[in-house]
Symmetry: C2
Subunit: 204 residues, 2 copies
């Protein structure tokens, strides 16, 4: 056999997944080999299906297997509040907080010049179009845009860029609050976070 | 959509892999969704291939995509020493130690009555047949059998069972040495291991 074996190929492909090193990939491959009851077929089938059926929502760019995703179709959600996230997986995080009942908009990335990702690579003009359509009463009116982006350099850059773009438009713009994570020890909080937590202290 | 979505199905299948919880499965699924350059197709293809092409070696029961595995075909390995392991993945561990150049035999499990695994479920009669064939000069003569099984209850039980089966046969039987792992701190070694390390101390 001159070409790479099926087992080596599977180990190679698995090791390209995030957080999966060569050793874990090998363990997973051996587990898959040992598996019974058609597991390999089901896993392979679900991979094929995900490519064939899953695409982005025409409105918010979340992943979906329908024309509009379930959050855009949900009639119990309010149209006037829009939460902007970086990736579709972030929607799950916001949802599990239970603190938001509006609509979403997925940017599919943040501005990161070092990685060659600029504003035009993201779903930013689609975001502006959604807001503008509401302002012209051609679509649901959006009163508030919440930027739920990561609290890092790229997230901050994107927030600044969006704030500039939305300047002068009749829409409230907000970002996530910085502060002490619940259950954490003050001793281990970094200075900037603690500074923000002090500044934004809540009266009792 | 009444049936489960493709994304949920992939998360479900991934979360059945060892060491992959629901959160990691979701992260992997989203990564797979975002992946480009035909990664999904390659991963799916390698799964199909592994099922179609990989089977157990006719001699040692290692996984292989040829009739005999590469260790059984390797003419530079000696036939007189046989290393018995629990799983095919254990062969990789022994190989990377560089301390063994003989042949292998994979039991595909260890005796574990609590899990309902008995001697007849393992490749034990095939092991005896290999040894007997050598003794009758119908196959390569095996002079030593090294039992490289886990140092736990099931491993020990299997070693005792094999020792009894091989009693009276003209073959040296050995097991892995117990002792202090290289680079480890004496303070953190359990009493039984330290006891064995003392008993089997090496003269300098």
């Amino acid at each position: 056999m001159l070409n790479i074996s099926a087992l080596e190929k599977l180990v190679h492909e698995l090791s390209r997944l995030p957080g999966i090193g060569p050793k874990t990939a090998q363990r997973l491959a051996y587990h898959i080999l040992r598996s019974k009851d058609g597991y390999v077929e089901r896993l392979s089938d679900s991979l094929v299906r995900i490519r064939a059926e899953v695409h982005t929502c025409v409105k918010c760019f979340n992943y979906t297997d329908t024309h509009e995703c379930k959050f855009c179709r949900d009639i119990h959600r309010t149209d006037d509040s829009l939460c902007v996230v970086e990736e579709p997986s972030d929607i799950m995080k916001v949802e599990s907080s239970g603190a938001f009942r509006g609509r979403y908009h997925v940017l599919h990335g943040v501005i990161s010049p070092l990685d060659g990702i600029n504003a035009q690579d993201l779903k930013i003009k689609e975001l502006i179009a959604r807001i503008d359509a509401g302002l012209r009463s051609e679509g649901p009116k959006i009163k508030e845009v919440i930027l739920a982006l990561d609290a890092d350099l790229e997230g901050d850059t994107t927030i600044l860029y969006l704030a500039k773009l939305l300047q002068g438009k009749e829409v409230r713009l907000s970002r996530l609050a910085h502060g002490v994570p619940i259950g954490s020890d003050i001793e281990f909080i970094d200075d900037r976070t603690l500074g923000q937590a002090l500044e934004n202290r809540v009266e009792l």
